[in-house]
């Protein structure tokens, strides 16, 4: 146990090239300034990559698994793990560095983060590259790198069972990659419990580049807290706030899937490759339909009273599938975005994507783009290796998913992401290749939702719907994802005060709303410094033309389209309010000083 309360003060540092395993001490100052999760992961990334342009798929790029100070404590919804690394999919328009890319962070629920802390660590850093496919087993202080050749190419659902059978102990918590990541698809994901994923920004691709199939961890320890009595009192309040919450109850009913119908009605849904914001058949793939036809059981992450994950079972042509979903992102990206309204077909697509270890959002986005290009006659069936990729075609979608994961034929092109694909096809297709900095947009459409457009263009990992629609939200979210607690329960306003009290009691540092946001701002600015050093400028914070040209033709927001000038002046205002240069987006020295980042920024 370190001198800093609430932490072990050590990170498990594994080099797969040399096989060296060390327990790296974390400076108390870093714990204080960057907390854990996304923040501390970012600081470690910054420390490890001392220069810009490091190839994301090179052994040097660290792959960082971060719980937070809440993890391993019985705090409600303290289930998250943030995976931080350098992105394998983003790049700036112009840069002095061949391999320039943004930071990447991807957050998943489940049981992995808490278990890392039970094992006695505040995080795990993987560097290097194993000679052959390997996996890492962590049992408290005992850490081993094992040969994983026999698991090569194994899909994630089968692997989830196989690895536990191999280890002979179901108490191990595991994360792993599928064939897509082994094949280095830049938007491959990392899976956990066969249905939870750190999906975005290519974390799985980086893991694949290290020849690392899986990490298994189990631990017998218990992280401490600074103020024991204060912690227990705040815990009681936090539980009280959520157990009695009407919001929590309604969230438990349908999880994010409720928004499939809600956002369609509001005209903010991704439909037909972002051409529309409303889907006439949304009710066929929404939460009510899922509850009626497919969901068998509600599933919750560690100590979570919400339980928004659902286990579904399909019938009919695509019958017999047991999997999570549809959630909002998965249901929209593979559903309304592709005009698929057949629930079992949708679930089959979602399941296949997870099974192969691809990011649901990027995969759905790429396929939507291809459907549009095919529909417009910009590509023909030959280009698609004979797949008749028409709107709403489930079997064609499934075939394309397999091709992407295998990087086979057209799949090899599609695997590079929607931007690279549009460059290849040309013919003006860039206008409807829906990405920012090379990362595909998610299931929130923006012709009628300009603030979400801000989130997409200014987010540190490329088009991210979770970053936040304004500065305060961005700062709060960056901090939230640094604590180990899930973001969803914070929709319950009564949780805020006990949550801050818990964080204060655990760390012994006084957190009020202002301090919480300030810490998030520091984290967000460090990410920005990283991206700026790589060469990202204002021109990279740009939306595709579609959002300014293609007004919705249906739905309640018919006619809605973004105004370029308005969007631009909103951005100028944003950089100014952030204390960044509105022309270059470079963080100003006054802001950096205020955030205690001046020493770090001198590196630029």
């Amino acid at each position: 146990m370190s001198g800093t309360p609430g932490y072990y003060g050590q990170i498990l540092d594994i080099n797969l090239s040399t096989g060296k395993i060390t327990k790296m001490a974390v400076p108390a100052e870093d714990l204080e300034k960057f907390v854990g999760g996304q923040g501390l992961g970012m600081k470690i990334l910054w420390d490890r990559l001392k220069k810009p342009g490091v190839d994301a798929l090179s052994p040097e790029n660290p792959l960082i698994f971060m719980p937070g100070p809440f993890s391993g404590l019985p705090v409600p919804s303290s289930s998250r793990t943030c995976v931080v690394t350098k992105s394998s999919i983003t790049s700036p328009i112009e840069s002095d560095y061949h391999h320039a890319s943004t930071v990447s962070y991807s957050n998943m629920g489940g049981f992995f983060g808490p278990e890392i802390r039970f094992a006695g660590y505040d995080g795990i850093v993987i560097t290097g590259k194993a000679k052959e496919l390997s996996y890492v087993v962590i049992d408290d202080a005992k850490v081993e790198i094992r040969d994983g050749k026999k698991f090569k190419g194994m899909r994630t659902d089968a692997f989830d069972k196989a690895i536990l059978a191999e280890l002979g102990d179901r108490r191990f918590k595991t994360v792993y990659i599928g064939p897509a990541a082994e094949n280095l698809v830049p938007y491959a994901s990392i899976l956990h419990t066969a249905g939870r994923a750190a999906g975005r920004g290519g974390t799985g691709c980086v893991m694949g580049s290290k020849n690392l199939k899986a990490i298994a961890v189990k631990g017998s320890g218990q992280p401490g807290v600074a103020d024991h009595q204060g912690f227990l009192a705040a815990l009681e309040k936090a539980r009280g706030a959520l157990y009695k919450s009407a919001f929590a109850k309604s969230w438990a009913e349908q999880g994010t899937a409720r928004a499939i119908v809600g956002n369609s009605n509001a005209g903010t849904e991704t439909v037909r490759n972002y051409r529309e914001g409303t889907f006439a058949e949304a009710d066929k793939i929404g939460g009510d339909a899922a509850r009626r036809d497919v969901w068998v059981k509600d599933i919750a992450c560690y100590c979570c009273p919400l339980g928004c994950k659902k286990s579904g079972l399909t019938k009919g042509k695509y019958g017999g599938i047991v999997h999570d979903g549809p959630e909002y992102e998965t249901g929209v990206m593979l559903g309304s975005n592709l005009l698929i309204s057949d629930m079992p077909g949708l679930l089959k697509a979602i399941t296949t994507i997870d099974d192969l270890g691809l990011d649901q959002i990027s995969t759905g986005n790429v396929i939507g783009f291809l459907m549009e290009a095919y529909d417009r006659g910009l590509i023909n069936r030959g280009f698609l290796d004979g797949i008749d990729l028409t709107w709403g075609n489930v079997d064609a979608t499934l075939a394309m998913i397999e091709k992407i994961a295998a990087k086979e034929g057209v799949g090899a092109l599609a695997a590079e992401g929607v931007r690279a694909l549009s460059w290849h096809i040309g013919k003006g297709s860039e206008k409807f290749a829906i990405q920012v900095k090379g990362l595909e947009l998610a299931a929130h459409n923006i012709q009628a939702n300009q603030p979400r457009g801000l989130s997409y263009v200014t987010a540190s990992r490329g088009a991210c719907h979770m970053s936040g629609d304004n500065i305060a939200m961005q700062n709060r979210r960056a901090m939230m994802d640094s604590t180990g607690m899930c973001f969803f329960p914070t929709f319950e306003p009564a949780l805020e005060e006990p949550m801050l009290a818990l964080l204060s009691a655990i760390t012994g540092r006084k957190y009020d709303k202002a301090e919480f946001e300030k810490t998030g701002e520091r984290i967000f600015n460090l990410e920005k410094l990283f991206n700026y050093r790589e060469g990202f400028r204002r021109a990279d914070d740009q939306l595709p033309d579609r959002f300014f040209e293609d007004a919705f033709s249906i739905g309640p927001k018919k006619g809605a389209v973004l105004d370029r000038n308005k969007f631009d002046s909103m951005l100028t205002q944003y950089y100014t309010d952030r204390g960044w240069d509105p022309e270059t987006t470079q963080p100003g020295s006054a802001k950096l000083k205020e955030l205690g980042l001046e020493a770090i920024s001198r590196a630029i």
């Binding site: 196989a162 059978a165 419990t193 218990q222 068998v296 339980g307």
Partner: protein, 241 residues
């Protein structure tokens, strides 16, 4: 509600009659023979036997989400963590809980807890001679609460009790890896079961149970296989122990 319909397993749901209800229903149905067919002979024997009421932690598998709050709550009370030599009630690693939530793929979560078996195969397996005064072996049942206890001073750490429990019943007994002495027998938390109190989904209750009810005293793997078959039509759980 739709949700009710989606819980076809509901193995515990309708079978948690108290003895009084049972005897009452027996009267209504007009005879023990009818009910014996319905509830099984063990239930009948239990109902008309003089065996004292058994109150224990009962699981509704259809409601369990696998959140493990029960584990955390149990450890917090029964196996609090020590940090730097100081015991911290309210904090404890869930793996030391007396209730263990077994997770399976496909999604089935089976909280497993001591069944407080009437015939206590665990106690019978204990080779330590019964104490002359108390009649207790190194493992014994508290006659009032039915909970199983270990007398560490007399325990040999031979693991026989754990083996008996694992082969014949739930398998909850986990010997301490160093001493071999049995652990994880539910204490009922002195009458205020923390797992029941903290379960956010109402999947646990502290009620009188019948020993013949479905899944009573069975291993988590067996229960999971049957639930998976009922819910998903599959029995493939990956052959994981």
């Amino acid at each position: 509600m739709e949700r009710e319909k989606k819980e076809p397993g509901k193995p515990d749901g309708g079978t948690t009659l108290t003895r009084r209800e049972f005897l009452r229903d027996m009267g209504v149905a007009g005879g023990a023979v009818v009910l014996a067919g319905h509830f099984g002979v063990h239930g009948l024997a239990w109902a008309i036997s003089g065996e004292p009421e058994l109150k224990m932690v009962l699981v509704d598998y259809g409601k369990c989400t696998g959140c493990r709050t029960c584990e955390a709550a149990c450890s917090s009370r029964n196996r609090p963590a020590s940090v730097n030599g100081r015991e911290l009630p309210g904090l404890g690693n869930p793996r030391f809980a007396n209730i263990r939530v077994h997770r399976f793929n496909p999604d089935v979560d089976v909280p497993s807890v001591c069944a407080m078996c009437a015939d206590t195969p665990c106690v019978k397996a204990c080779p330590v001679k019964p104490d002359k005064k108390s009649g207790r072996r190194a493992l014994y049942r508290d006659q009032a609460t039915h909970t199983i206890h270990n007398d560490p001073a007399r325990c040999l750490g031979c693991r026989s009790c754990a083996k008996a429990c694992a082969t014949q019943r739930t398998g909850v007994i986990t010997p301490d890896s160093a001493t071999g002495k049995p652990e994880r027998m539910c204490t009922l938390c002195g009458g205020d079961p923390q797992c029941v109190r903290r379960c956010p989904f109402g999947a646990l209750s502290y009620v009188e149970v019948r020993r013949d009810r479905k899944f009573y005293g069975q291993r988590a793997e067996k229960i999971a296989a049957e639930l998976a078959k009922t819910w998903y039509g599959t029995v493939d759980l990956g052959g994981v122990k």
